[in-house]
Amino acid sequence: MSFFLETLVGGVLAGVMYALVAIGFVLIYKASGVFNFAQGSMVLCAALTFVTLTEKGLPFWLAGLVTLAIMVTLAVAVERVVLRPLVNRSQVTLFMATLGLSYIIEGGSQFLMDARVHELDLGIADLPVALGPIQVSSFDLVAAASAGALVLGLALFFERTRVGKSLRAVADDPQAALSVGIRLPALWAAVWAVAGFVALVAGLLWGARQGVQFSLTFVVLKALPVLIIGGFTSITGAIAGGLIVGAGDALAEIYLGPLLGGSVSTWFAYGLAVAFLLVRPAGLFGERPIERV
């Protein structure tokens, strides 16, 4: 029983890491209805910028602030150069634009900094900690706490700030929001900046776990089923989806893997996502579109 619990808890904590990436997708989707394919590249860009600055001798906090400033600048640039000219275009057009953007950010990050693998030490031990009969990683606990703090912060941002309220209005009804004077370009820049901050947090935690390298962009592959399960429009859904995918992957790998020849986690989360699409297309917490006919 303790082995089952340990696997479950380990999977749940791994799922939190995926949820961190998924939150970035949700933010942009909520504000603009665009699936931002470049979110993984933003994770790489943020982590690579941060680690390059710390390697150049900047203290941790200053490197974090400078990276955040760069991510905000990137967000504003994306809004001006890519999104603004494409206002009123179809969602597929915007999606394709983010697809192109992802290659530019990936290539540009590696070109301007470098393609080496960097070690990122956040000073958080990644060692086993006994919690009763089970062992968990101290790093995973910190990651879970970070995700919790991030969700709380974003909830406050959306509930209490003017920008947050405007975002919710745009998400609910863009035309109505525009008619009452909400400026869409400024909002898009703001939400991309927040997504950049989320990418920084995710990039730091994933970078500390696996090194800062190109493969950080692969993390988004697991964020996709997380979004489908949780719902594209809900931060709570991203967290719930992450936990389900993490736990499901771990348990399937342990209990189904030996029966099916291993590597179950390659497809398990996607299988689960397809099942959700069939049964609950909007995901667990996603908004179900209401259409009058």
Partner: protein, 451 residues
């Protein structure tokens, strides 16, 4: 980095994007030997490609600058960016296979297990030898069936066998392997699965329990796999990763409490780029490799003096000089240059084509005196290739990470059980020949073709 250097990089990139290749020599000189390089300097595996190709290019430059070429025939090369992708690798091969400026292609370094397999049949049709050092199809050791594939140095089967032999050394002999639990945590790909058959054979021979655990690509979350390890409690783990899989495995092993010094990484889990991101928990991790790290080898000292210190190196990060990947590039270039030199001994001091390159490879002898003369003693294992043996060596050194660098911890080269493995390899090659309708050639046929 200076503004000038950055500007130069931008110009270089623009050239790369514009043409797809970067040339290093003036055109129209057929007295020079063409040597195409399918590099990968961008994309997911750029961090390994950059030092590998720097090692290769630095050695080729050394041959040109210090030795005046191979018997006076200077080398020139161009790069074709593959991003380590199969389709781009094949495209690069197609682009360069006809040679350049009248100079033929003596051999091709595919630098990727998947692309080397994709090119197996094309290389036979085009008569261009594929030299795959530390990767590639194991059955290609049998050159009677695979005339143009050269799994030189250390095949995956030899890698597995040497790792087991090293474990035997650690536990006090092969008879003590009986009853041990040895888990292989492998990248779930044809490359990762390549050691399953030899490990099964070795387990039956020596009596250890052979446990296989797959990690799906890319391997950036392995909590489930290492939970299984914690449940099984193996005595040793043989880690056959690629890319991000290795540092994540080391970190996950540490967080689940598995002793990192009881993990032996395979060839592609044994570079600085693999272990450095794991941080302090990587201390004690071991890996078996045909590419020993270090700057103390004679040839490395010569390259440093003649190329690196004179600002001629392709290496942008000086810390990578003498790294596993840099040295692998040097080793690969040494083998290629010596094969061309051997072919020149038979066909004359001129640019060599693929069929002649094949002859050179199949008659390549890098014994201790020759390695000493090259300054590669201890860096390259003694090799003797033939039609029946495209591997030649079959041994690796075990390195251990001390937190900042690798140190060799094995007593010289750890040999594989080639006598046990070769009959099975020949059986598999024969089965391949039957399946593809290939008539295996003999030693005499090979010589006749060369004539």
């Amino acid at each position: 980095m200076t503004r000038l250097a950055r500007t130069m990089r931008i110009v270089a990139l623009a050239a790369l994007l514009g043409t797809g290749t970067v040339a290093t020599a003036p055109a129209g000189d057929a007295a020079r030997q063409y040597f195409p390089l399918p590099t990968f300097r961008v994309g997911a595996y750029a961090s390994s490609g950059i030092p590998v190709w720097a090692g290769t290019i630095d050695y080729l430059r050394y041959i040109n600058e210090v030795e005046g070429g191979i018997n006076g025939v200077k080398l020139f090369w161009d790069e074709c960016e593959t991003e380590w992708a199969v389709e781009k690798g094949v495209e690069c091969y197609e682009r360069v296979k006809g040679g350049r400026d009248g100079s033929p292609v003596p051999l091709f370094l595919p630098h990727g297990d998947p692309v080397s397999k994709a090119l197996t049949e094309k290389s036979v049709a085009d008569k261009i030898p594929l030299v795959t050092t530390g990767y590639g199809r194991t059955e290609a050791i049998d050159g009677r069936v695979f005339p143009y594939s050269f799994t030189v140095l250390f095949s995956f089967w030899s890698e597995a066998s040497s790792a087991i032999n090293y474990i035997a050394e650690q536990v006090g002999g092969k008879d003590r392997l009986k009853g041990l639990k040895i888990a292989t945590v492998y990248h779930d790909s044809p490359y990762g699965k390549e050691t399953q058959i030899p490990l099964d054979l070795l387990a039956k021979t020596y009596g250890f329990e052979n446990i296989q655990i797959a990690v799906p690509h890319p391997g950036n979350d392995q909590s489930a796999q290492w939970a299984r390890i914690r449940q099984i409690k193996p005595d040793w783990v043989f880690l056959r990763g690629w890319g991000v899989m290795t540092p994540v495995a080391i970190k996950t092993a540490a967080k689940t409490g598995f002793p990192v010094d009881h993990i032996i990484g395979g060839i592609w889990s044994g570079s600085e780029e693999d272990v450095r991101p794991a941080g302090s928990v990587g201390k004690g991790y071991r890996a078996i490799t045909p590419f020993p790290a270090g700057q103390d080898f004679e040839i490395l000292k010569k390259i440093k003096a003649a190329i690196v210190d004179k600002g001629l190196s392709d290496l942008k990060d000086p810390k990578s000089f003498g790294s596993v990947y840099y040295n692998s590039g040097v080793i690969e270039a040494i083998i290629a240059v010596e094969a061309i030199r051997t072919a020149q001994g038979r066909f004359g001091r001129k640019p060599i084509d693929g069929a002649q390159g094949q002859w050179g490879l199949e008659h390549l002898v890098l014994d201790e005196p020759r390695l000493k003369a090259l300054g590669a003693e201890g860096l390259v294992q003694p090799l003797r290739l033939s039609v029946k043996d495209h591997e030649g060596g079959g041994a690796g050194k075990v390195l251990q990470w001390d937190g900042t660098q690798w140190a060799a911890v094995s007593h010289g080269w750890v040999k594989s059980d080639r006598d046990l493995l070769l009959p099975r390899i020949y059986e598999r090659a024969a089965a391949y020949a039957r399946e593809k309708g290939i008539t295996p050639r003999g030693e005499e046929t090979a010589e006749a073709i060369a004539r």
